[in-house]
């Protein structure tokens, strides 16, 4: 086991997920756990979750990764994006459990999108570009992107709290997203 962990940094996450899907590879799962569980926990803590809740949801996320590994499509999403959406959906499910909706509405799921054939670059490259673009955003734009992820208050409330004019968060987000799109859609 310790050997698999030592090897973790050299094996990329997509290959680990594939090994889980194809061979139910426990060493690959352990390596993926070592790589992602502490980051997933950090993400949950940033959202305000207590230690126990964070641990619990990370465990569920990694268990779901194990069970759904065969559904992972590296052409459609990078490993980090896929794992991120599993965490997010589990969080949303937890919130819904506390506030039930009429079942007919709750059932309206997300449509699944096939990978975009016209895209010039693959998912892993896209993610590398997104990461670079995120790092290069002006601080005030990066801040509002982070707020969208880590602050659950409506935007107008955030603006009041930050003392910035109404509509500023929205216009900064528009600029940030436009920049990200430019970075992703340029062919180099």
């Amino acid at each position: 086991m310790s050997q698999a962990i030592d090897e973790a940094p050299t094996r990329d996450a997509a290959a680990l997920i594939r090994a889980i899907a194809e061979r139910r590879d426990r060493a690959a799962f352990a390596a993926l756990f070592v790589q992602y569980a502490p980051r997933l926990k950090a993400y949950m803590r940033r959202l305000g979750a207590g230690d126990e809740t964070a641990e619990e949801i990370v465990q569920e996320t990694m268990l779901t990764v194990w069970r759904k590994a065969a559904l992972f499509d590296p052409a459609r999403a990078a490993a980090s994006t896929w794992i991120y959406t599993i965490l997010r959906n589990l969080r949303i499910d937890m919130m819904r459990r506390t506030r039930p909706l009429p079942p007919e509405l709750a059932a309206a799921g997300e449509p699944t999108e096939p990978a975009d054939a016209c895209e010039l670059i693959d998912a892993a490259q896209r993610t590398a570009r997104v990461r670079t673009a995120l790092a290069s955003l002006p601080p005030e734009q990066a801040e509002v992107v982070r707020l969208s992820f880590f602050d659950e208050r409506p935007h107008a409330e955030i603006e009041r709290a930050l003392g910035i004019p109404l509509g500023t968060v929205k216009s900064r987000l528009r600029l940030a997203m436009a920049k990200l799109r430019r970075v992703l859609e340029s062919d180099e």
Binding site: A30, Y36, L63, T81, R131, K170
Partner: protein, 208 residues
Amino acid sequence: MIRHHPSEATLLSHAAGTLLPLHAQVLALHVAQCPACRHAIRLGEELGGALLDAELPVAMAGDALARVTARLDAPAPEPPPVAAQAAPHAIDAVMRGRRWRPVGLGIRLLPLVPRDATGTRLDLIRVAPGVALPQHDHTGPEIACVLTGAFADATGEYHAGDIAEGDVGLDHQPRALAGEDCVCLIATTGFLRARSLLVRLLQPVFGV
């Protein structure tokens, strides 16, 4: 043809999972029929992946891996039954067995979810052709998706599939266009503040 899309802020919050759940229900109706917005949400999910990668690891409990490994062979729980229907049809199902409540001349309301812990409620609103809602302001965010018919206010014309968002500071008087009844699914956080004192006095009676 869809002309009005949700704001980038709303799409990003949706990708982040931080959009209020009832607002997300309204957004889902639009997203189901809008490839451009699905694309934007995917970009938001990629941002989420990048933020996850950028996190500084926080140590898990010492036995965390052992505990989850012990559960790997347990059978997966049955997923909740998912109706294989598109969201707009879900609305028909929701309406079955419920009754429209008149809340004014030519305006009817069908409450779906009462105000929740976030102060958000979900309703269907049905406005007869040519009828206007009282001029009003908002104390919180609101998101509506047009199901049938169309309405217009100072910000434009909204037809089936279009999203209209309101927030603190939007003071408007939506009016249903001629033709058929305009039906919208609407999530409202906070309260609408009518300009007219009479309407304000009547508000507690209608509960909007």
